[in-house]
């Protein structure tokens, strides 16, 4: 199945793209989507333990299942305010 991965801030810069189409074997979780993303963009590997995630613009967990067509966002540590 195909999902869309969305990257922000330094993740976006390191990967050189804002969105990626990623193919995953079913069943899959957000963590699988992250591993597939790092496989395509190895520069993101150092963020392994420093990312948060959202599925379809809702805060989520790495263990959350993903479905075909989902929009999975990876968030580096935040610095708003």
């Amino acid at each position: 199945m195909r999902i869309t991965v969305r990257l922000f801030a330094r993740l976006r810069e390191l990967a050189g793209t804002e969105t990626l189409a990623v193919d995953l074997l079913e069943p899959a979780t957000v963590a699988d989507a992250w591993r597939a993303t790092v496989a395509v963009a190895p520069a993101l590997a150092p963020f392994d333990r420093a990312i948060s995630c959202a599925v379809n613009a809702n805060f989520s967990r790495m263990s959350h299942p993903v479905a075909a067509g989902d929009d999975v966002a990876f968030l580096p540590p935040v610095s708003g305010g």
Binding site: F8, S52, F59, P76
Partner: protein
């Protein structure tokens, strides 16, 4: 009674208007409970220096749809802790120069002590969970600022914000 969901949250590239936000937030508590007797506000500004380096400008990037949900969550948390309060949160995105406001927070309550508490709680939670990123541009380079690992489900972080707010 929670009046809080009526107040404003926004992510915008436009300059922030504190007065506009105050009018909106005050109106949310004017007719509920005791009414509105206090408004506290906070503006976060772009500082001229960061760790000794001269700041030329900042660029803020946000995941807009998720940031709005984070702000609404903060409103709900504040509403549970301080009934009959109202809270507005607006964050700016894009390029900001020194002295410009990056975030505006307004809290309205019946009495002043709670207004300061709600306002402080809200900015602490924005720093913890809002999916917003600051990119600093200096005279001699640039850097992304990476602070909190955002986890809106982390109750310990929420408790820390509450302690700071009520100190």
């Amino acid at each position: 009674m929670l009046a809080i969901l009526n107040a404003m949250v926004a992510v915008t590239p436009a300059p922030l208007s504190l007065e506009h936000l105050i009018v909106q937030v005050e109106a949310c508590v004017r007719t509920g409970g005791e009414g509105c007797g206090a408004v506290a506000s906070f503006l976060g500004l772009v500082r001229a220096t960061h760790q000794g380096r001269s700041v030329r400008y900042l660029e803020y990037e946000a995941f807009d749809a998720l940031a709005l949900k984070a702000f609404q969550q903060i409103q709900q948390e504040a509403g549970q802790q301080w009934p009959n309060s109202a809270l507005g949160i607006v964050h700016r995105t894009g390029r900001l120069t020194v002295g410009e406001a990056s975030v505006a927070i307004v809290a309205a309550t019946a009495h002043r002590a709670e207004a300061f508490q709600v306002c402080r709680y809200a900015i602490e939670r924005v720093k913890q969970i809002a999916p917003v990123w600051k990119h600093e541009f200096f005279d001699d380079g640039e850097a992304w600022v990476e602070g909190a690992l955002t986890d809106p489900f982390d109750e310990a972080a929420r408790a820390r914000a509450l302690v700071i707010a009520c100190a």
